[in-house]
């Protein structure tokens, strides 16, 4: 990265990693955040126990390209659609939303219907996540 010239094309992709709900730990989210940092992303991390409103507000203020949601508690069917709906309400339908954690396969179609672009299960590599983000981020060239 050089900082001297105008580099409008090479700017880092901004990712918000957020943990909605009442999960007790965030080891996985932190590992992912660190891994994405090493892949050259600018990763905003907000910590545990975030409400959908908090996550939407952080995504809006930070003007992120991607929101990655990590959830282990089983409340994904309630919380994740609230977040995608909140983003839509704020006009952020161009933001890529992904999810990870403990999410049964049976729930994935409904989540995709609700606007989650991809659900990453246990065992997903950082590379898979970063490749997916790079391939899918909707470049907001104007």
């Amino acid at each position: 990265m050089t900082d001297t010239a105008t580099h409008t094309t090479a700017r880092p992709i901004k990712v918000l990693i957020a943990k909605p709900g009442l999960d007790g730990h965030d080891r996985g989210a932190k590992v992912l955040a660190r891994g994405l940092r090493d892949e050259g992303f600018e990763v905003i991390y907000t910590g545990l126990r975030q409400t959908p409103e908090m996550i939407v507000s952080a995504a809006l203020q930070e003007d992120v390209d991607v929101v990655g949601l990590s959830i282990l508690s089983g409340a994904h069917m309630t919380l994740l659609p609230k977040i995608t709906a909140g983003l839509r309400d704020q006009g952020m339908d161009d933001v890529l939303v992904t999810a990870g954690g403990i999410i049964p396969d049976d729930d994935i179609p409904a989540l995709e219907q609700a606007g989650i672009a991809r659900v990453f299960g246990p065992g997903t590599t950082i590379r898979e996540v970063s490749d997916f983000i790079r391939a899918s981020v909707h470049r907001r060239e104007e």
């Binding site: 990265m1 105008t6 660190r34 994405l36 809006l60 203020q61």
Partner: protein
């Protein structure tokens, strides 16, 4: 989004000023990425800025900067605050990796309690390379927030390195945060960070040793104060004599007093005619933009070739870099004349 320059639909800048937070966030991205759109917006917004109090908050990693910033925000948003609740913006800078360009921006973790409040706007920024550019991007972002109606802007710097001194130098008021266990009297007399402080905060005052640390700092920071007048008379720079305050961001103790001290300084800077920080800030911006413009000019068509040849000559030690720079500057003038 299409913002027509003819003014048919409102520009990002106009929308940001009218309270559209999404537009404000987008605009900050344009400014941070130094796009032509961001530049255009800054041209429109700069004359409307200059009213906010810019407070730089710096200090070692783990000294409690983020928690203290969150505490200051809470205090400024209190409905029974002496000056009434007011909008607050935070720019929180964290380091970029020099290897991959990636970054973890983690300052929001301590500030999420304000997430539901639309008059609190928190923006993280990665340092993206060298400090000079960072200072420029930070001032530009602050100008946008200032023009968008935030009278108090807290700039939390990276916890380590040289850049925090630069960012602090462009703030109206610089707070240096220390924790009680962070060093003895020798640390307090070393050159560097403490010298740029307008206010030194000993945070974590709930921990043992805080009072002693504050007393030591006070003693060391006032050494030689009786000679300040002589220094000024002799034309030498006068060292800053920062106040030392105790806070506990954890319990909230001392935070109202800190905000009150900031407000006192804000009214004082505004009333003083010779505002040194405004000049310094102008200089930082202008020299940053000049350097950027010059770099762009040297990469553009007609001069680029000449620059390449000169670079190769310097690399091969056929030409010294000083002569090379002078020749390039002269060449630019020639190209402009032709």
């Amino acid at each position: 989004m299409t913002d027509s320059p003819s003014g048919v639909s409102p520009t990002l800048a106009e929308r940001a000023r009218s309270g559209d937070r999404r537009a404000l966030a987008r605009l900050l991205t344009e400014v941070e990425n130094r796009t032509s759109k961001g530049e255009e917006a800054l041209r429109a917004l700069y004359p409307l800025a200059g009213h906010a109090h810019l407070v730089g908050i710096t200090g070692a990693p783990g000294s409690g900067k983020s928690t203290l910033v969150a505490g200051l925000v809470s205090e400024a948003r209190r409905h029974d605050a002496p000056a009434g609740p007011r909008p607050v913006a935070v720019i929180a800078v964290d380091p970029s990796s020099p290897i991959t360009g990636g970054a973890i921006l983690g300052d929001r973790v301590r500030m999420q309690i304000h997430a539901g409040d639309r008059d609190v706007f928190i923006r993280s920024m990665a340092s993206r390379g060298h400090g000079g550019g960072l200072a420029m991007a930070t001032v530009a972002a602050a100008a946008v927030l200032d023009a968008s109606g935030f009278p108090l802007i807290l700039i939390e710097t990276v916890g380590t390195g040289q850049s925090e001194v630069e960012v602090a130098a462009i703030a109206d008021t610089t707070i240096v945060v220390q924790a009680p266990e962070m060093g003895d009297e020798v640390q307090a007399i070393k050159a560097g960070l403490l010298e740029v402080a307008d206010i030194v905060v000993v945070n974590k005052a709930d921990r043992p040793g805080a009072d002693r640390a504050a007393a030591q700092l006070r003693a060391m920071l006032t050494v030689g104060a009786q000679h300040d007048h002589a220094a000024v008379a002799a034309g030498r720079p006068r060292p800053k004599r920062p106040d030392v305050m105790l806070t506990s961001a954890l319990t909230g103790a001392g935070v109202p007093e800190l905000l009150a001290a900031l407000d006192r300084r804000a009214s004082r800077t505004r009333s003083s005619e010779t505002d040194g920080t405004a000049l310094k800030r102008a200089e930082a911006q202008l020299s940053g933009i000049l350097a950027q413009r010059l770099a762009e000019r040297l990469r553009s068509g007609d001069v680029a070739e000449r620059r390449e040849a000169t670079l190769r000559a310097v690399a091969a030690h056929q030409l010294d870099p000083y002569t090379a720079a002078d020749e390039l500057l002269a060449a630019l003038t020639d190209f402009d004349r032709a």
